[in-house]
Symmetry: C2
Subunit: 364 residues, 2 copies
Amino acid sequence: MTTDTWIQPVILSGGSGTRLWPLSRTQRPKQMLTLGQDRNMIAATVARVSGPDFAPPIIVAGAAHEALVDAALDQESIGALILEPAARNTAPAIALAAHKVMMQAPETLLLVMPSDHLIKDTDAFHAAIHAAAPLAADEWLVTFGIQPSHAETGYGYIEAAEPLSERGRRVARFHEKPDAARAEAYVESGEFYWNAGIFLMRADAYLAALETHAEDIARDAATAWANRVTEGDVDRPDRNAFASCASQSIDYAVMEPAARKAVIPVDMGWSDIGGFAALHDVLPKDTHGNAVHGDAIIEDSSGTLLWAEDILVAAVGVDDLAIVATPDAVTVMPLSRAQDIKRVVDRLKADGRPETERHLETRR
Amino acid sequence: MTTDTWIQPVILSGGSGTRLWPLSRTQRPKQMLTLGQDRNMIAATVARVSGPDFAPPIIVAGAAHEALVDAALDQESIGALILEPAARNTAPAIALAAHKVMMQAPETLLLVMPSDHLIKDTDAFHAAIHAAAPLAADEWLVTFGIQPSHAETGYGYIEAAEPLSERGRRVARFHEKPDAARAEAYVESGEFYWNAGIFLMRADAYLAALETHAEDIARDAATAWANRVTEGDVDRPDRNAFASCASQSIDYAVMEPAARKAVIPVDMGWSDIGGFAALHDVLPKDTHGNAVHGDAIIEDSSGTLLWAEDILVAAVGVDDLAIVATPDAVTVMPLSRAQDIKRVVDRLKADGRPETERHLETRR
């Protein structure tokens, strides 16, 4: 790559998931947590796309998370911050970043990625970006397909068709989260990859595809951008126009209907840390398969995730559990049922429990 | 009983156990906890021996627990407080109470009992006391033997010999905590009862037996009492003399060697709540056998003790666990291994962890 094909990272920080509750909360989303790395996830994401090939990243975050983003990131490390006045999923969010780039260089390659994923092999990621760049420059909407390690039913899949370049292949189609049998078949075929929500594409190509396939979103996002308020490096798109946008993912609004779409298969130690089982997977473990974090002691146990945040936890004689403790909330469940945390959080939210929103104040 | 055979309750509050850690701590012993009753255990013990047959109780407590006892008890409900300047087990503690009573009426019957046991059937307890009183008045040292419900290895056993009265039997001997096979044999025989550490005996008879079988303890306790400082209803025995006392239980120092000892078998819903399994046993349970206390939700679980103290706990899909959470410490273990908490606490104490001593300050 030469300097005139700089990559513009666009980091999407709109999530407010609670799949790691009580670690993650509405006002303390996963991207702000430090999970098995030496910094919080959004800072690690920024660091992963620093260097001579990359422009300083554009962060697109919910306006409600402005203070959290400020606290989580070194301001020197980012190029711009776009604050969404409402949560409208990824298609409108990416449109805002594309408009910002269009003002300078419409053919700039946008590297769009979530702020809360782990990628252990940065070199493999960079190599995949390099492989994707010529296709993206040629107006392909390029996605990165994760080599599946197992028949996961929690992800969407990308089905690859004929080769377009040494590593790139045309996307036959995107598939929703499959059932177990279908997931098995996908993985067996060798033609399917996990959809990680990471994309490389020209800003103008994205906006053109959005105009073609989701005209309303394209119009509302353009209006929200045109009527923005800018202070320094912070852009605040117009609330009313943005609120009018349909809430749609880039996958649904653009990638699925798009004709010119490609995939770069990659194996880069990726995880979305989408639950306690995934967190257990990515953490270092003792010889009995226990992943232990914080002020904790564990004895005669195996295969357990024990996470103690500002609280002392002692576990004895347990197997394959998730034990996650904070000073105002604790959860205990088998790792195999970690997705059921959603049910718990939904029930707590229905009860109006503040512990789903934020940490209650405690002191030692 | 007539008024001249009033029973003088003596409630021993010397314990500082941590078998229910993190609920119980050195500075917050089990007798100060509210466990499945409507008041804390020492207050429930006091209430259990109120009424026309009983004098206001004498409390014997560690001097370090003075403030805790004050906070746990309504001062109107107790007769006197004896503060031990050092922990010297039960034989010296009871001697202090006996000396206090000797000043007024040497033949007074002392009803000695721990402050941290649960007795669900108070009527059965009172009936057993009535059955014991004539024997005790006749200078028998009377113990109450709990009808065993299973072959428990965690208690000492009392072996009964020939009848002495309608309900009373001579004690053949006391047995230490047995192994499993021996416990089975004890229970099968029908002649063995659990030693609950509850006694009825004349003050003078106890001191005479102590003089006979543990002369040094008798002397040191008498000196400590003679040199006490009394303020209102509070007696503070002399520190140096009491510290010289051997630390021995009444069982070892007096009951085992004594000749004139009797047992009243009784079935009164007794529990020492000596661990989480026992706590689970005595608490009300849902249809799946879960005992849930505090701010907790539990789903798809069975046979579990879930205790949440000033903290929110969510458990899903767990079976037969103890999950016990406070704002500064949490423990998770199978109920079948609840006795292993001792190992955990010993390790924490060795590490100098303050969480074994007291609750760290937290606020919501």
